[in-house]
Assembly symmetry: C2
Homo-oligomer: 717 residues x 2
Amino acid sequence: MVTINRRQLAKSLAAGIAVTGILELPVKQIKAESSSNAEPLRWKQVHPGIWRGTVGTPESNTPVGTRLVPPALENLASLPSITVAPLNSLSGMATTRGCLLRLPLEPDEMIYGFGLQFLSFEQRGKKKAIRVNADPTGDTGDSHAPVPFYVTSKGYGILVDTFRHADFYCGDARSKPTHAVASAGGVVNAPQDKKNLAMSDPGQVSIEVPRAAGVDVYLFAGPTILNAVQRYNLFSGGGPVPPEWGLGFWYRMEAHAAQERVLSLAEEFRERKMPCDVIGLEPGWQTHSYSCTFVWDPARFHDPKEFLSRAAALGYKVNLWEHAFTHPASPLFGKLLPHSGNYGVWGGLVPDFAGLPAREIFGGYHGRELIDAGISGFKLDECDNSDYTGGWSFPDVSRFPSGLDGEQMHGVFGLRYQHALWQQFLERQQPTYNLVRSSGALATPYPFVLYSDLYDHRQFIRALVNSSFSGLLWCPEVRDARSEEDFIRRLQSVVFSPLAMINAWYVKNPPWKQLNSKLNNEGYLAKDWQVLEARCREIIGWRMQLVPYLHSAFERYAADGTPPFRALVLDYADDKSIRSVDDEYMVGDRMFVAPLFAGEESREITLPPGTWHDFWTGSVIHGNTKISVSATTKNIPAFVKAGSVFPLATIGLSSASPASGDLTVRVYGDGSLPWRRNSPSGAQMELSWDWTRSEGRIRQRGSVTKAYRVVKWEHMG
Amino acid sequence: MVTINRRQLAKSLAAGIAVTGILELPVKQIKAESSSNAEPLRWKQVHPGIWRGTVGTPESNTPVGTRLVPPALENLASLPSITVAPLNSLSGMATTRGCLLRLPLEPDEMIYGFGLQFLSFEQRGKKKAIRVNADPTGDTGDSHAPVPFYVTSKGYGILVDTFRHADFYCGDARSKPTHAVASAGGVVNAPQDKKNLAMSDPGQVSIEVPRAAGVDVYLFAGPTILNAVQRYNLFSGGGPVPPEWGLGFWYRMEAHAAQERVLSLAEEFRERKMPCDVIGLEPGWQTHSYSCTFVWDPARFHDPKEFLSRAAALGYKVNLWEHAFTHPASPLFGKLLPHSGNYGVWGGLVPDFAGLPAREIFGGYHGRELIDAGISGFKLDECDNSDYTGGWSFPDVSRFPSGLDGEQMHGVFGLRYQHALWQQFLERQQPTYNLVRSSGALATPYPFVLYSDLYDHRQFIRALVNSSFSGLLWCPEVRDARSEEDFIRRLQSVVFSPLAMINAWYVKNPPWKQLNSKLNNEGYLAKDWQVLEARCREIIGWRMQLVPYLHSAFERYAADGTPPFRALVLDYADDKSIRSVDDEYMVGDRMFVAPLFAGEESREITLPPGTWHDFWTGSVIHGNTKISVSATTKNIPAFVKAGSVFPLATIGLSSASPASGDLTVRVYGDGSLPWRRNSPSGAQMELSWDWTRSEGRIRQRGSVTKAYRVVKWEHMG
């Protein structure tokens, strides 16, 4: 083994040289407190590029300790071969309070991650509490889906393996000064007058895991920040590949809509050529939903079987809203009773999803009664610890038969709830794509997309960007809007996201017919609503065109852990101007978008290095600069890498439409970057452009998801 | 001992009969969890009407365990004699997580308290975390001054003796259902469709104290809710009696104002007849203030001695802003170094105020260098755990020589910081009145008034009302305003509060000259600013008139623990319409005010039972009803009890003005309620009205604070 530094390592890797050695991180040794029992972590390599460090005696109930999906070992092996020694100066100690870890930070080292975060992007200098908490109002770390995982701009990631409310002090907590000085050296009469110490000198991350006598830390090596994220995702099991219908368009019906009303609107979508793959039913489908019975309400759905078969005949998948708290009138109640927590919510049981019995009872019922009847997936609400909302969740002091307390259960409830249902689809070898309100560590492989009741558009985009650091998918769903412009801007964003959905639970008519919800529900449609409908039809059409491209991005997510939607900094880590960009994001490998926000006349767009084309017009834009675009443009600003061969499906009424296999292939610039599909089965397809012959080529090996044919090659710019 | 119920008890007490017995609380026994090691609390009576219940082995560092002010035992003895057995069904247990307590709740029993709370008033059905946290954005319990103490409408109070982040589940956490039912019994498809279980059935308060192997709980008996609060306040040491100047008017200077500018404005106030007792200096008086040196900046204050003597000659007290984090250039640094925490803030030390050495070093310096030089008090900033603001405080994982960790230290830092300075005034037998940003349990006797950076006017009033349940004083200070109306409304409120202050730290000229801060600092005064100045002069004049009345209210606070400013429900607990009133409050025993908020055309006022007079006009209003008042009135709505003999001082330029002893005495209605001063020294004064002779009387025994004479008797209504 040789000792190398990171610069040498990056150079060798870039040159394709396999490297084995000890990575020498130029960090200063952090002095242990005199009074402490700090010890270096005991490190062990567990997978290529992944080490586990242990301090004290870890708990048994942890994300890794109780994982239900194995790491994607083969795919991990395909990442850059790297043998990196863990950071020497990491230390930890068990304390009377729990367990305390200290990790070094270099000057200018930036921290990203911590799961679904709405209120900030760059985390250095901040404290983040990893605590599931619905509707966080402050930038405290609290979120629907916080994850005790961060990556740094120096190209490594740290997972703290705990379900507990860990506090991460990201360089903000500093040791006390030790020497008097003669003079204050200049007047500083406000905090902001101080030099930003948090960034410019070496610092440390202090992490406290409460109540634990020890903890495991997993270090994911790079060398790049993207590599670290990939390793985390593959360690988690690799990304999910949704069925094509999951990437189509979703529409959630008004909460109390009955069978006939739902079907009538579903028919209207077909008649008026509004593409839609999935219709979602909200609480009203059940006899009782706060808490849930999971039983069709016969007054609204007198014949669920007929309802589902008519929906299927129209080409729709049906998704059902629910939450887990189980009403005493539910057929599940009796069996679930011994496998639930000691507190109730809304008069219902809290299933002990950390244990197999509750997952099997709960999931089994869903499988037999709902999935087998034709339900394609679920929307799992209220699992996000709204315990400040007035008893909307179970307290941290709860106890569960599996041995978890309420604090731990909140950390895993969302993910194990997902597992209880996903397991049923897996057993049936039935692809699925779902929604969920809470998630956590190692969630990457789960075919569930997060949503919430929060609604600020800019925060939605930041959440999408942040999610990419921690293996999460986020749906910036469209509900109401304060103006037609706001509605359009939000719809433009959501079609460039993991799940494209309008959630119309609060209005009887589609929002494009009347944005004012009161008027909408009273049946007063907007004058000329057809104009807005046409605009929506066009935007939803973009989504239908993007399905093949998005599908291939998800295939890569499964294969090598690259998030399909991700922060620019993951692709352009070396570029300082990219470092703080939290309102643009990559879509697949060829495209980035920069959403517009209602009420803003223009926006600044940071262009990453390289040559880009305007996605819509093909015009060439040279990168590594900032440009200002006027918000009068009718499209969302989207850019494609020069050279890209970019497939667009023909718009059908659903992704099952035969037309959706007919591709228009855009060739941006010289077409030197072919487009590939790589199914998990090993099938491949490649679309490339031969500039010398001026012709496109399609090569296929085995059968990818569907039969594609190219109906048109289109030159852009 | 006999067993009696509360109704009998109240009746006996009302009839003046001394009662000894066991109070039988009609609460259902709470079933212990089958898996738990719940035990009833071990109870012991510690003072008349006060019991201590113990579970497990409590920590030694707790509010009561480390208290520095003894209970006001003599005054406690003067409260209704009552021997009440503790609540039998209280139980507790030490768990792996810490310590869990369960207390019963009756149907309709309402909970109030938890210290300085901005966002809610009625706490039943909510979860409150007792965690010092600056600028709380959600209704989570977090606050500058949370207190682990609540009272209920059933007339008792509960103090949980801990500095830790205790979670109080106030009836929101409910046991799981145990029996299946045949039918859901009606469709419930939204949480709000559910019956409000939280209020209508018996419930429980669950309290978790993290990390503690045991805890003491103190029960403060009533029989009324006000009695419970009084017992808590007297147990804490009784209320402070501020010097008269503390109850006058305060004005804080622009942050960077130098000696001459401060004095010039102070002179201008005198010339323009703006009453003012205290001028406050903000950060700029020090050579370095983030962190602090506690040394006068010679560039701005070239001669502090001359500055202070000129201010004194003009009749002003001077108050200094500071925070505790001590810069390496401070003369305090060397001595403080071994008595500080292991983390620093803004490059300064965190004094270990829980230990005597740090308090003596820190306080001693302040005494010698600042108090002896003439400083009347301090404004203690930044002690409120802004650790989500980016390193603006020390982390919970900190360690202090006194043995506290950071979590505990946050719970006591504000109060012990107060003590370090108050001790210096006590040693000098010098009355003082101060400002502070954080406080906690047992804070009643401290002559410190809370303030914050929050600024919503309605929240400010709610905070004032809530503070009265937990021995806290709150200053709804006036800073900027979005309109002239907003400015006036805020000023009208603050003169009816514990500390009447304009905090003009951000503007060079008084805000009444120019409300727009940019224009103000550029020297552009508003046209006709003299009109607003005159309006302010009048409102500040009200405050000067109220000083004797307010002073007597504080004397009662010291004598029997009745808060001088308090929620109406403390005086009118039996009146259902009063229960949720959080925007009106009692001022002393004779008056209540109902502030107006800018932008609202009118407001509804709930009038407590009895006959009232409009304070301003004397017109009679019969209570026990709601009235609507138009916001066009030039005054803040204020009401006085029929019969009140109500003193108003003559307005002087400060409370030291000889005129301030000349009283105009208003007689509302029949004058059957005399006004009394009761100095702690035992001196008494009484103003009464003899209706038969149609003359007022003044009786005096010993010398009260100052020599009063009545210059006018005025009949009102």
